[in-house]
Amino acid sequence: MKVFKNILPIFFLTAWLFPSCDKLSEPYAVVKPAGGDTTKRMVLLEDYTGHKCVNCPLATIMAHDLENLYKGQVFVVAVHATYFATPDPSGDFTADYRTEAGTLWSNYFKIESAPNGLVNRAFFSGKNIYMSPKLWGGAVQVAVELPKAAIMTMKNSYNESTRTLTTSIDTKFLLQLQGNFNLIACILEDSIVSPQQNKDTLAGPVPIIKDYVFMDMLRGTMNGSWGEQLTTSVDLSKIYNKLYTFKFPENWISEHCWVLAFIYSEDNKEIYHVIKTKATTEPE
């Protein structure tokens, strides 16, 4: 009995200390309304992917779902990086879709595997800046509710004979943001067809989708991997203009290319505004 006298108070204490058990009941999930609102913050979802990544096709579908659900407000760039993007010496995966910028970014953000994503390169849930696809929806939902930070306009002029693109970008800040800000202009290419590993039948045949169509693939940048400094002190009354030219390599199909430009804080890399237009047509 002495034993139980000693133990019982401890059990009661424990029962009082740890009432920590949240049993949930159905329904566990409810459908949320979506819809792009261009009067709020524009969002860039960077989908770190690779042709040897079996989980990536499904992640890419999720990324494009978000782009469609928040049409006009969320943009996707597929960054082929990490081990999963390395080419094989022979076989189905000899293509090399890695870029200097993509490799640099994945190293900087410590992304070693795919699929992983960055949403405006901002922290979500207070931890790693990159996140698995299941968290993209939550992070996008937080980001799209933020106030609009800037207005950007872009004019592209493409010379077919020289395969040279000239891009003019105007930026006007709407928020008095602190710190240094950079502008980066990237080239994305759609409709590149080559094999992709896959493990989910929802995304296509397994284990390899032979004629996978890669969309929004990062092909390079017009002004360096980290872009160019726009300002060290935001002036709300000023329109910042930048002009870039870029010669397309022979194997890029210019009609399938887009220019995606974004401004970000040089200090913490957070993206504040994004714009995307066709490379070979005048902006609307």
């Binding site: 740890f18 949240d22 999930a29 409810v30 207070g126 698995s132 929806g137 284990p207």
Partner: protein
């Protein structure tokens, strides 16, 4: 007088210092310092045949993982810390380790009744199914808790433990509830000590129970499913509880532990709300010259982490012990098993026996034989209804009755080891392994590789040249029609006790279907041991694979270069 002026402050200094010095000496006399050190440094080389290019190395050709741990104790008090540096981490270790600092420190007081730790600590409840924090350097694994631990021993035979803290997450500081807070309580009752009547009984009985809870902020999460946005409810407090029993009767020992976890939607289980459970049971018999061990386990949805969003070897609260055996020979360890926390059913049996010396079969020195069989299958999963797929996010996921074992084989291992001495100079270990390895399940692919059926044979011979000098040789062969085909390996190791060793090893993938990949993975090593310090230098190639310790694995990419390892303890 002048001299006095100089002398006086000196005297005053001594007057003050002498008592302090005496106190300091006593302080030192009653205390002890211990510690250990390890540094693994690598210089990586380009190796185009292995696909290692300048771009793969990304300029980070010199890398290092190192730690120093120091523990100080005086009387009932002790304190310690561990400094770690990953500059940058070796290839194959998580890049999130990049950096240096002190991730582990503690102060502890203990006497006969109580044991209190503040700071970091490693703890295990039962066999770990509900809580285990530990460090495994070779895996780059550390899930230590930082907080408070109290152990209380009210009477002989009863141990009560309480833990409260947050887990290590590489170098990420705990702030804004960026991971869960873990609380746990454990009680252990050794009946033979509690009840004097049982003290001399042949029956030894221990029972125990644990309750663990993880608090992670966030009542909902938004996910995309079927091209729609869904908001999922989240439990902020996820509890696991269970009990265990250990019964020892003479040469027999029986252990069983059951754990139950309430709804814990996470990235690991695709955000389903099914409760989880795990049962582990073992029965063993041991007497001189004979040992028999049987194990069985069933795991259903038992990943338990203090951050529901992570999917790698990070922030595990619990540990699911394996029934499979890990092998040390290079080719035998090519296909190890990684525990599948979302669901598996496994069983294993081992029998070890010795054929007596001077018998017909055993010869002059006798023969030791160990036979082991282990098999792991998936568990059966049935859809909840016609409109819900198995593991569908935002649902209970699936149904599975306790004895519903899937036909899908995850792993099978049959191995036989025979050890025999031949006279005074020779010793031989002869081993055969038949391993079925479901590469898709273990490595996370889908319908890509299927099951790899491999036969491996190892001959390990040691020849004692003199009392201090020995030569050991290994000859290994792995035969499979799947994966990368057949392998052969050999090793020669010269040991000059107690200080030196040199070894040469080659693993040759001669059966690879791609002729350019029929590579030799050679490795030349030399080492020097001085007291408790060991230094080794290796040069060669590391083949791609996975490395597992206790069913927890990490991917090891192919590499080539020079590796320096220094370990020491004091």
């Amino acid at each position: 007088m002048k001299k006095f002026y100089y002398f006086f402050p000196g005297l005053a200094f001594l007057w003050v210092q002498i008592p302090m010095t005496v106190t300091g000496q006593d302080f030192l006399r009653n205390s002890s310092v211990s510690g250990s050190f390890q540094a693994d440094a690598a210089y990586y080389l380009r190796d185009t045949k292995m696909g290692i290019t300048d771009s793969t190395l990304d300029g980070k050709v010199i890398r290092m993982n190192a730690f120093t741990e120091v523990n100080y104790s005086i009387g009932n008090f002790s304190a310690g810390l561990r400094f770690e540096a990953y500059l940058p981490p070796l290839i194959g270790y998580d890049i999130q380790y990049n950096g240096l600092g002190i991730p582990y420190w503690y102060v502890n007081y203990k006497n006969d009744k109580i044991d209190v730790t503040a700071g970091n600590f490693y703890e295990q409840f039962g066999n770990g199914q509900m809580l285990r924090t530990y460090q495994e350097w070779t895996l780059g694994y550390d899930n230590s808790l930082r907080g408070i631990r109290v152990k209380f021993m009210p009477i002989n035979g009863i141990t009560l433990k309480g833990v409260y803290g947050v887990q290590r997450d590489y170098w990420v500081q705990f702030k804004d509830n960026n991971r869960g807070v873990v609380k746990g309580f454990d009680a252990d009752f050794y009946m033979n000590d509690i009840f004097p009547k049982m003290s001399k009984s042949i029956v030894k009985l221990t029972v125990g129970g644990s309750f663990v809870s993880d608090y992670q902020k966030g009542k909902s999460i938004t996910v995309i499913e079927n091209h729609k946005l869904f908001e999922l409810k989240l439990p902020e407090n996820v509890a696991t509880y269970g009990g265990r029993l250990n019964l020892n009767v003479g040469d027999f020992n029986f252990y069983t532990e059951y754990a139950y976890k309430i709804n814990d939607p996470s990235a690991m289980n695709n955000y389903i709300y099914k409760n989880g459970d795990a049962l582990f049971t073992s029965l063993s018999y041991s007497r001189t010259g004979l040992g028999i061990s049987l194990k069985a386990k069933r795991i259903d949805n038992m990943s338990y982490k203090s951050d529901r969003t992570v999917t790698n070897n990070q922030l595990d609260i619990n540990y699911l012990p394996p029934v499979t055996t890990e092998h040390s020979y290079a080719l035998a360890s090519m296909y190890p098993y990684a525990t599948q926390p979302n669901g598996e059913f496994g069983f294993a049996g081992t029998i070890t026996f010795k054929i007596k010396k001077n018998s017909k079969l055993g010869g002059k020195n006798g023969i030791s034989i160990a036979l082991n069989y282990a098999q792991v299958n998936g568990i059966g999963r049935n859809p909840l209804n016609d409109s819900t797929t198995v593991d569908q996010t935002g649902t209970l996921g699936y149904t599975s009755s306790f004895f519903d074992i899937s036909k899908e084989l995850f792993y099978r291992d049959l191995n036989l080891e025979v050890t025999k001495k031949f006279g005074k100079k020779w010793k031989g270990i002869f081993t055969y392994y038949y391993i079925n390895y479901n590469k898709d399940v273990v490595e996370g692919h889908n319908q890509q590789y299927g099951i790899i059926y491999s036969h491996t044979g190892v001959i390990d011979l040691t020849y004692l040249i003199t009392k201090k000098v020995s030569l050991r040789g290994e000859l290994q062969g792995l035969f499979t029609k799947e994966d990368k085909g057949n392998w052969a390996a050999c090793l020669l190791e010269l040991t000059i006790s107690p200080k030196w060793f040199v070894s040469v090893m080659d693993q040759w993938n001669y059966g690879n279907s791609v002729s350019s990949q029929r590579l030799h993975y050679y490795l030349v090593s030399a080492g020097f041991i001085y007291n408790t310090t060991r230094l080794s230098l290796s040069y060669g190639r590391q083949r791609e694979g996975i490395l597992c310790v206790g069913g927890v694995c990490r991917y090891v990419p192919a590499s080539s270069g020079l590796i320096l390892t220094i370990t020491s303890s004091f």
